[in-house]
């Protein structure tokens, strides 16, 4: 019975496009090749050529995770450095700011400054930094 199915299916090889189809196919192939060369980004072509030249080159399995982790670590390091430099610059700013005297307080770190000069507005110090002189982006 399978032989009958096989014979029936063999008839499908007679389903073919018209004879000039394959001639036109070649022209269409050349046209698409040219169009692709024009439209593709150079980087994509270079990458593909690299991959074709080194077909054995495969991206290691954990490479993407490693790169992502490295990117996160690098970002954290940059942020940390920025904060450090921000803190030191605000420290130098504090040196230029009017002298303030902090009164001892029972409420831990929060101190209430009192300016010695009465003609200047009071400055509030939080964590030993003069808040009123902070640049807005410090918040």
């Amino acid at each position: 019975m399978n032989q009958d199915v096989h014979k029936l299916l063999r008839l499908k090889r007679y389903e073919m496009p018209s004879s000039d189809y394959f001639e036109r196919f070649m022209d269409e192939f050349h046209r698409r090749q040219r169009a692709e060369l024009i439209s593709r980004p150079t980087l994509s072509i270079l990458f593909e050529r690299f991959m074709n030249a080194f077909p054995e080159f495969h991206v290691p399995r954990m490479a993407y995770a490693t790169v992502a982790a490295a990117a996160v670590a690098l970002s954290a390091l940059i942020l940390f450095n920025q904060q450090e430099s921000g803190a030191s610059s605000s420290g130098s700013f504090a040196l230029n700011s009017p002298t303030v005297t902090t009164l001892p307080s029972a409420q831990g770190d929060v101190r209430f400054p009192v300016s010695l000069r009465s003609d200047l507005p009071p400055h509030y110090v939080l964590e030993t930094r003069p808040v009123s002189y902070e640049s807005p982006y410090s918040f």
């Binding site: 199915v5 014979k7 299916l9 008839l11 007679y14 389903e15 073919m16």
Partner: protein
């Protein structure tokens, strides 16, 4: 009658080497050589002429882009068929279920095919076969198979490839090819019962 000297066929390896060295005309020869055969492979898996045309263009474009990486571990024939089969199966996975068949004409040669003659006029002929109806039913039956089974049936039954070659193209064992064929034939037998002799 003038004798026509037949040009010796250039080997695939030579054409591949020339393409790899930057001669695009050598690849044109490969396209000419394999386009008809690959058309049959893709068409019988998609049952749609327009899809086949687009896919075939993409297949040859991909082969051209990748040919520098072809190291000759398999024959070019196997390598090209592997690209074609993989791309066609990927395409079929994405194609919507509501596609329409777009069938090619049947070559008149079928009228002289012994198997067709046997089917339509032999003593076991069960009914008069309308060619167009048979074509539609065959394509419908094929499309009821899974993509993987259809690939095996196309290569073995329609294109006449040996089991070993099909196994290499699909990356499966000969045993798996045989079992897929067995299962697919059993399914097709049910769909095509009315055209089969008892």
């Amino acid at each position: 009658m003038a004798e026509t000297a037949q040009e010796p066929e250039i080997k695939d390896e030579d054409l591949v080497a020339r393409t790899q060295n930057g001669d695009p005309r050598a690849f044109d020869d490969l396209v000419r050589k394999y386009s008809s055969r690959l058309y049959g492979l893709v068409y019988n898996m998609t049952s749609n002429h327009e899809d086949t045309n687009d896919l075939l263009q993409d297949i040859f474009a991909k082969a051209y882009r990748s040919i520098k990486g072809f190291r000759g571990k398999s024959s070019f024939y196997t390598w090209l068929h592997t690209i074609a089969t993989n791309m066609t199966i990927n395409f079929l996975k994405k194609r919507s279920r509501s596609y329409k068949m777009s069938l090619d004409d049947i070559d008149n040669g079928v009228q002289h095919d012994p198997e067709f003659i046997e089917l339509t006029s032999g003593p076991d002929a069960r009914r008069e076969v309308n060619l167009k109806e048979l074509q539609v039913r065959l394509n419908e039956a094929m499309m009821k198979l899974s993509n993987e089974h259809r690939a095996v049936v196309t290569m073995f039954d329609i294109q006449g490839m040996p089991h070993a070659e099909i196994g290499k193209i699909l990356g499966i064992s000969e045993g798996t090819v045989r079992s897929r064929l067995f299962y697919a034939h059993r399914q097709l037998q049910n769909y095509l019962q009315e055209f089969l002799t008892t």
